[in-house]
């Protein structure tokens, strides 16, 4: 009689393999038995199956304790246990891509065979990719190993209804199985220790059954759940590198101080960005796929306005850093350097620090007290300031001698012109200059028809300011379509709402003075209609002139808001100004250009990001400290895997979330806006909007996984999820229930 024991996992087809072997012998007239050893196992659990065959009728109804041969369906089961009771010289067949010699040291006493049944099964589409059914392939290998002709194996397969790919798998395994016929010479097997004289098993009463052996169901698992953290799209896209998800999560927990603290790790300007940021995070928000983006801008404003945190230097250092320019990039760099402990000094050419934060954005969008508060918080770190100090090429060299590092953040100074024929006259004023006059309160445009040329925020701010200063009419002239306008969507909307008319696809070509009616000068602006062609180097579709489409506008004032370019005259001749962490010039002192000067980006958020990166970089250079520089300040949760991938909406289970429209907050009535520079948007009264954040790819401790774990092997310990892998069967319910793709299955 031949007795065979099969080690496999539930679902691999071990019992069927036993039956296949038995059937192949049965069809040759032998007496056979095939059976499994069953318990409470389910898919993936280690199982054993048995097969015996003999010429005589089989009278043995016992399990097989001393098999002639052993077959292992899953290589992860290979261990001393598979040779238990195996007769010396018996075959061990392992489903493995390795050659049999790999197992020779472990099983010196036996003949060894291997076959890559998993690959064969997958190639033949047997089972699933994760759980291939390997039994029919192994049946072929068994045939070769036990000198059973292939046609007898195939006859058994066909007898049991296996066709096509199963026959192919068996045939291929029959060919590919590798055999090592001779066991190595070894001494006699070690005598097994005498079994303990323990006639009785455990008591049900003593220890209340605890004496029963624990069934560690974790060994059934072929997959295990793990926690990962992915990058939320808001965090990924934020030019300042803010941990958007993190501060929203704190607000959702009604912790505005913590939210502000999270923001202050990256940005010193949450109240400012909460008003003036174009908020690309909201355009990237996955919640758009459900019911609209989370109103991140308003939430940042809420955290900035309501949180109370006083940042302090984290250390004290002696190195002196000079920062030229006090716009958002310079101040952000000064802020972070001061927090690292450096002695930072800011040089500003104007009378007050803040750059365009003060003069470039009108009060109705960004009140001055908000700007003052955030600048004061930065200066509270002990930053020295020198105003009315213009730095030129010569003085820059001086700064480099006196400091350990110099940052230049002079922004965009040169305003672009349009050759209309009256440039340099009082007919044409630059938008930035106009806004500066507005800021100082020394300009009025009562009764004027104002034309603003441009499509950015400066154009919108100038137009809206002109309306508030008594303009009879304001029209914005822009050469592309609304789609291409660089201004914040909301500001375009607000401008239109307030009565600014916008002429799109319109290119001014000439300006002429007209006879005046006496009170105001009159100008005639010749414009040309445009159409959009192929995208240009900016990625936007280029405007193309439509021939013979000229028309004329009459106005009393033209404001140019065409953008600015950097003034690089401060640097040595020929310096190529690049962003961030690139050293400039040949000085020994590190010298960097940051902010708009280097990036030309034009947003506060980008300036903040540039300033922070430069500060961190300088700190690393000067201190030698290993400071992590990343684009983003995402907090690492206590997770198993950091996944460097941005999570998209299709990875979320949006159906698990309730629909709820975004909170917009109140605005000043339109009728009132004409006569006041009061802030238009009033902000939200509470932070409940933050609870709409889906926390994409980041665990927010919703604990649905713990609630639904059918085995009770998942629990929260503090901020950590603990899986009891000794008992986790890998059912995947926690993965199904996790709304944000934090939990995933990992193959074992």
């Amino acid at each position: 009689m031949i007795e065979i024991r099969i080690h496999g996992r539930g679902g691999q087809g071990g019992v069927t393999l036993a039956k296949l072997i038995a059937t192949s012998r049965f069809l040759q007239g032998l007496s056979v038995q095939a059976f499994g050893l069953y318990a409470a196992e389910r898919s993936g659990a280690p199982i054993q199956a048995f097969c015996r065959y003999a010429d005589e009728p089989i009278t043995n109804r016992n399990l097989i304790y001393e098999p002639d041969h052993v077959i292992v369906l899953d290589p992860t089961l290979v261990g001393p246990v598979i040779a238990t009771g195996l007769k010396t010289g018996g075959w061990i067949l392992v489903n493995s891509p390795e050659p049999p010699g790999e197992f020779a040291n472990q099983f010196a006493r036996y003949r060894l065979a291997t076959v890559d049944a998993t690959t064969i099964a997958r190639d033949n589409n047997l089972g699933t990719r994760s759980v291939p059914i390997v039994n029919t392939a192994l049946a072929g290998a068994v045939g070769r190993m036990l000198a059973i002709p292939l046609q007898e194996i195939c006859a058994a397969l066909e007898h049991l209804g296996f066709k096509g790919s199963n026959l192919a798998a068996a045939s291929r395994a029959y060919e590919e199985v590798r055999l090592v016929e001779s066991p190595r010479e070894v001494g006699p097997p070690e005598a097994l220790g005498a079994p303990a004289d323990e006639r009785r098993g455990p008591s049900l009463l003593e220890g209340a059954g605890a004496a029963l052996p624990a069934l560690k169901t974790g060994q059934w698992a072929t997959e295990q759940p793990r926690r990962r953290q992915m990058i939320p799209p808001c965090n990924h896209i934020c030019p300042a590198g803010n941990n958007v998800q993190g501060f929203l999560n704190a607000l959702a927990r009604d912790e505005p101080d913590e939210a502000l603290e999270i923001l202050l790790r990256t940005t010193p300007f949450p109240s400012i960005c909460g008003r003036a940021c174009p908020a690309p995070c909201m355009e990237a928000c996955n919640r758009i796929e459900l019911d609209g983006a989370v109103n991140v801008r308003q939430m940042e404003r809420y955290a900035g306005d309501h949180g109370v945190v006083t940042p302090a230097p984290l250390a004290r250092r002696d190195e002196r850093i000079a920062i030229v320019g006090s716009g958002p990039a310079g101040l952000t760099a000064a802020y972070h350097l001061a927090r690292f402990g450096y002695r930072a000094k800011v040089f500003e050419s104007g009378a007050e620090i803040g750059g365009l934060l003060r003069s470039g954005i009108p009060e109705f969008r960004l009140p001055e007290d908000v700007v003052a508060r955030e600048i004061d918080r930065i200066l509270g770190l002990g930053i020295e300031v020198e105003t009315d100090r213009r730095i030129d090429r010569q003085t820059l060299l001086g700064l480099a001698r006196d400091h350990d590092a110099v940052l230049v953040a002079t922004g965009l100074q040169e305003q672009r012109d349009l050759q209309l024929g009256m440039d340099g006259t009082e007919a044409v004023v630059q938008g930035i200059d106009f806004l500066d006059h507005v800021h100082r309160g020394d300009v009025r445009v009562d009764g004027e028809s104002v034309v603003v040329i441009g499509g950015g925020n400066t154009a919108m701010d100038a137009a809206r300011s002109a309306l508030r200063l008594g303009a009879r009419s304001v029209r914005v002239v822009y050469r592309r379509s609304r789609q291409e306008m660089p201004a914040i969507r909301e500001e375009i909307h607000d401008a239109a709402e307030e009565g600014v008319s916008i002429d799109l696809l319109t290119q001014p070509v000439a300006l002429h003075e007209e006879p005046s009616d006496g009170l105001l000068r009159r100008y005639r602006l010749t414009c040309r209609r445009m159409e959009l062609g192929e995208p240009d180097e900016s990625g936007r579709r280029a405007p193309m002139e439509i021939p013979d489409s000229d028309f004329e506008l009459t106005c009393n004032r033209v404001i140019l808001a065409l953008g600015q370019s950097p003034d690089v005259s401060v640097f040595p001749e020929g310096t190529e100004v690049r962003e961030g962490t690139q050293l400039l010039g040949l000085l020994e002192t590190p010298l960097f250009a940051i902010g708009d000067l280097a990036t030309h980006d034009g947003t506060i958020a980008a300036a903040i990001g540039s300033g922070r990166r430069a500060a961190v970089h300088i700190h690393r250079v000067l201190s030698g400290a290993h400071v992590r520089i990343t684009e983003h300040a995402d907090e690492y949760c206590d997770v198993d895997v950091w996944c460097d991938e941005v999570i998209r909406a299709d990875a979320l289970k949006l159906h698990l979330f309730e629909r709820q429209a975004a909170a917009e907050g109140e605005s000043l009535p339109i009728i009132e806006r004409r006569s006041t520079f009061d802030e238009v948007h009033m902000g939200l009264e509470d932070a409940t909007e933050a609870a709409r954040c889906l926390s994409c790819g980041v665990c927010n401790e919703c604990d649905l996984c713990c609630t639904y774990c059918p085995e009770g092997v998942l629990k929260r310990v503090g901020h950590r999820l603990e899986f009891d892998y000794a008992y986790c069967k890998g059912c995947g319910v926690c993965v199904t229930e996790c709304p944000r793709s934090v939990i995933f299955m990992s193959h074992l």
């Binding site: 038995a22 059937t23 049965f26 056979v32 095939a34 059976f35 009278t59 323990e198 049900l204 029963l212």
Partner: protein, 397 residues
């Protein structure tokens, strides 16, 4: 007659199905059934069988499974079901009712341990719990015997002289899930073996009648006496059925007890189910060494085959009864009835009880040898002896 490598469950499902199908020219088939490990394969088999008349009714519990089968049986359907262990315990009330209604339902039971402790392996305690419910009970040792006995049980149960339900039992996994070569009879032969069911107390729509209503003591007693008389006829009717079976299928389904080398045996082992197979092999080996040892396999437990057992043990001085079951506070159940069978007939006979293989323990030849050693060595019969606990420990670890 094709021979296939199939499980005991498959054999049982086949027998139940072809027997039911054989009643298609009368009132057809009916089966209320509910799955439980290790019987589930039977449910799967009968559920996919393309019956010509009648159907399998999925129910919500074992109790309802038997209720459906009873209702259908009363109306002339050939009714059957199958269950195991705690499922049988839940079904118990209606199991009893089917017996006292005299409905010839056939049930296949896979003998599994009644929990707790939770255990799915072989133990006869579940069907022996039902031993006093006026059912015939048969214990089988292999797939072929399960199939043949199940077919025979229909013929016997439906015989006008008997009209009692019948239970065919097999050891969990050792039979139910073990695949061996098994001969599957043709439907035409089954049709010949099982004539249309003609129930004398069948219910009819157009003839309102109460079955099993209130009975005064003398009426109830008479009905119990009727059962007793029917039970007494079983031994003879069984032989008629067995002969017919052998003639039609060309295979002997086996007697109610099956002896091996008992003619001159001084020591006789009494066993049932798969333990009998192992014991027979031990006896065969030790006979070669000249030991006067024999085996009685008890196939039929209800009615208990007293006379046949006494006859088989005529030469014996010592009898060992091997029980894969335990009546708490009393001992092995086969042992109790064996002792009663010899009471007043062979008071000199030493009858010793061995409790072994309970909760799925593997009864190996070594255990049988230990039992024979104990039996040989003892001066008197004593309390039941628990055997093979250590062996059982090795079984599943």
């Amino acid at each position: 007659m094709p021979v296939q490598v199939i499980t005991g469950n498959h054999a049982a499902g086949y027998a139940l199905s072809v027997a039911g199908e054989a009643n298609r020219t009368a009132r057809g088939v009916a089966c209320g059934i509910y799955p439980i490990t290790p019987q589930t394969e039977i449910v799967e088999y009968v559920a996919q069988f393309p019956f010509s008349k009648g159907r399998v009714v999925p129910v919500e519990s074992e109790h309802s499974a038997m209720a459906v089968s009873m209702g259908a049986s009363m109306n002339g359907a050939r009714a059957f079901t199958a269950s195991s262990a705690n499922g049988l315990a839940y079904m118990a009330e209606n199991v009893m009712v089917a017996g006292y209604y005299r409905l010839p339902i056939v049930m296949v039971a896979v003998n599994r341990t009644l929990g707790p402790p939770w255990n799915i392996w072989a133990d006869q305690g579940d069907t022996l719990m039902l031993r006093d419910f006026a059912w015939l009970q048969f214990y089988c040792e292999d797939n072929q015997e399960v199939l043949d006995t199940t077919l025979l049980a229909f013929r016997l149960a439906e015989d006008r002289r008997i009209l009692l339900p019948a239970l065919t039992c097999m050891d969990a996994f050792i039979v139910s899930h073990t695949q061996t070569g098994t001969a599957l009879p043709e439907q035409a032969d089954v049709d010949r073996f099982l004539p249309d069911l003609d129930l004398p107390h069948r219910m009819h729509y157009d003839e309102a009648r109460t079955l099993g209503g209130l009975a005064w003591p003398h009426e109830g007693l008479s009905m119990r006496l009727e059962i007793d008389e029917a039970m007494k006829r079983v031994a003879d009717v069984y032989q008629e059925c067995r002969e017919s079976f052998t003639e039609i299928f060309g295979r002997d389904p086996g007697d109610v007890i099956q002896t091996f080398a008992t003619d001159d045996a001084k020591l006789v082992l009494v066993a049932s189910g798969t333990i009998a197979t192992t014991a027979r092999e031990v006896v065969r080996q030790r006979r070669k060494a000249g030991e006067k040892i024999g085996l009685v396999k008890l196939k039929m437990f209800r009615p208990f085959p007293e006379a046949a057992l006494r006859e088989a043990c005529q030469a014996a001085t010592r009898v060992a009864v091997l029980d894969r079951n335990y009546a708490a506070g009393a001992g092995g159940i086969f042992w109790q009835d064996t002792r009663a069978a010899f009471q007043g007939h062979r008071d000199d006979l030493l009858i010793q009880n061995y409790l072994t293989g309970l909760c799925g323990g593997d009864v190996t030849p070594t255990v049988i040898d230990e039992i024979l050693a104990d039996l040989t060595a003892r001066a008197n019969a004593g309390d039941p002896v628990w055997m093979g606990i250590q062996t059982s420990k090795e079984t599943l670890q």
